[in-house]
């Protein structure tokens, strides 16, 4: 059959390959090479604000690599603690999302079909409204004269407002709130495919509920747990909006540092070096995510 197409429409197959491939190559892959190149450049007060690492002379092209940006990041403890802070916040909030999301996904997968569709819609709906506005909602709830403090003072539990906004706690709340749907959906997709008869059999054999969960349900849905965790953890490492709006001076996150290097300091080479190190940290998680994504698709194709 394929020969038939090649005979009549040799261009069509070629076009379907070329358009998306070239688009993603030019606008997604090639830019990383440019970021890498500029991370070795020197910052200049010019437009664009960096030096060229290639200089053409009579004898040929000289490549001048400047490692200063990377050394700078090692010497200044700000960068190291921002990377560590981002990883810590990403790991803890991924775990919290799993803790809240797993029971929700489990319960949804066991509803009857109509209720299940409505529940799924209710999970997805918030993520179709603005991310920024959902983060903004928490400012009104957490600030000193916000809903939580007003309520606690009204019932007399506290006399002074608690400082919640601009603390790490507020960042955790914001991250878990905005990323929870990304955890629930892959978990649900796995749980709903789980044959209820397996659990039935385990119960019939006299297993206790927690034992059925730990040695049957949990391992059988591992792929969903990993996919959901990667969907939350990887973007959170580079998160900018949440630490900017909800965090305080003591919540250092690398996405915010990159933003400030670029927009406030106009230091494009250092911002590029920050991005390259972040990418290196995320290569392994992204590879794991890709592996599970493609395995999932092959399984459904088979």
């Amino acid at each position: 059959m394929r020969n038939l197409l090649r005979g009549r429409f040799p261009g069509a197959r070629w076009l379907v390959i070329a358009v998306p491939f070239l688009w993603m190559l030019v606008f997604f892959a090639v830019p990383f090479a440019i970021v890498l190149k500029i991370s070795f450049a020197e910052g200049l007060i010019a437009m664009p604000p960096y030096s060229d690492i290639l200089t053409r002379t009579d004898k040929g092209v000289i490549i001048q690599l400047n490692f200063e940006n990377y050394l700078y990041m090692v010497r200044d403890s700000l960068y190291v603690s921002a990377y560590l802070g981002s990883l810590k916040i990403a790991l803890i909030s991924t775990f919290l999302c799993l803790l809240i999301g797993y029971p929700m996904a489990y319960a949804i997968s066991r509803l009857d079909p109509t209720a299940r569709n409505i529940a799924l819609l209710l999970v997805i709906l918030p993520s179709w409204t603005s991310f920024l506005i959902r983060v903004y909602a928490w400012i009104g709830i957490l600030k000193n004269n916000g809903l939580i403090n007003n309520f606690l003072m009204w019932i007399g539990a506290i006399s002074e407002p608690l400082q919640i906004l601009h603390t790490p706690l507020a960042v955790y709340v914001g991250v878990v709130y905005t990323y929870l749907p990304f955890m629930i959906l892959p978990l649900y997709a796995n749980l709903v495919r789980l044959d209820p008869r397996l659990e039935e059999a385990a119960y019939d054999l006299g297993a206790k509920p927690w034992r059925v969960f730990l040695s049957l349900t949990l391992p059988m849905t591992l792929a969903g747990i990993i996919a959901g965790s990667m969907l939350v953890m990887i973007p959170v490492v580079g998160e900018f909006v949440i630490p900017e709006l909800l965090g305080g001076p003591d919540t250092l996150m690398i996405g915010k540092v990159l933003w400030e290097e670029f927009f406030n300091n106009r230091d494009w080479p250092v911002a590029s070096a920050v991005a390259i190190i972040m990418l290196l940290l995320l290569v392994i998680p992204i590879t794991i995510f890709h592996h599970y994504q493609s395995r999932d698709m092959e399984k459904r194709l088979a």
């Binding site: 394929r2 440019i34 029971p103 603005s130 506005i133 909602a137 709830i141 809903l147 909006v241 992204i286």
Partner: protein
Amino acid sequence: MSGAGRNSRFTLTLLGLGFVFLYAPILSLIVYSFNESRLVTVWSGFSFKWYGELFRDRQLMDAVWVSIRVAFYTAWAAVAIGTMAAMLLVRFRRFAGKTLFGALITAPLVMPEVITGLSLLLLFVFIGELIGTPIMRGMGTIWIAHTTFATAFVTVVVASRLTEMDRSLDEAAMDLGANRLKVFFVITLPLIVPALVAGWLLAFTLSLDDLVIASFVSGPASTTLPMKVFSSVRMGVSPKINALATLWILAVSLAAVIAWWVMARSERKRREESQGNDETT
């Protein structure tokens, strides 16, 4: 615990609490958009005045228009490229670089936005240097950036529909002598229309929602709605933003309910048709 396959009171309670967590902040946004007072969380009486203020804010309304236009063009481009990409991943057996292509499609799903934004900006500056004149940053560059990451999401949606599809119709048409291009437009395309609509809406909302990437690649003349909202939120809470949020939530909920209703109806129709077919055979 009553056993497998059903929910216990415990899991249902957790689900209910989860929904309270997801919807309480949204509800508080809506309630306080009707508040008379400038202090967002102190109630002083019902009023529509912030909605009036919202529509009188020319800069904000301009930003809404910029965002809607970018999102509209992004959605069409992402659906076109994403559908091709999905066909490529699901239907094309093997070609050089398929593994690379798979990685190029899944990585944007999780790539931190600051990295995508920075790298695209540096690309545009680099191209400007290559051709000798700087590239005008504005709606065009935002459209390219949004199309790139939205394509990845559309591809996932369309690919998952393609993998679920029954291929026997395609094969029958090809056995009857239709070429692949014709099979795609006459058989495959109508069957994946729901996925294309879902992908279009997803791309539209992703574009409408993006702050970080647009901030990197936009120029001085093109401020998108999230950029405007962000700069205003940075100054502190404002009931005007609550009013905007309420209208946004209303629009999305309405679209979701309609989409759900259309999907439920077509599902029912399909079920009835397949039952009809079963009876005749």
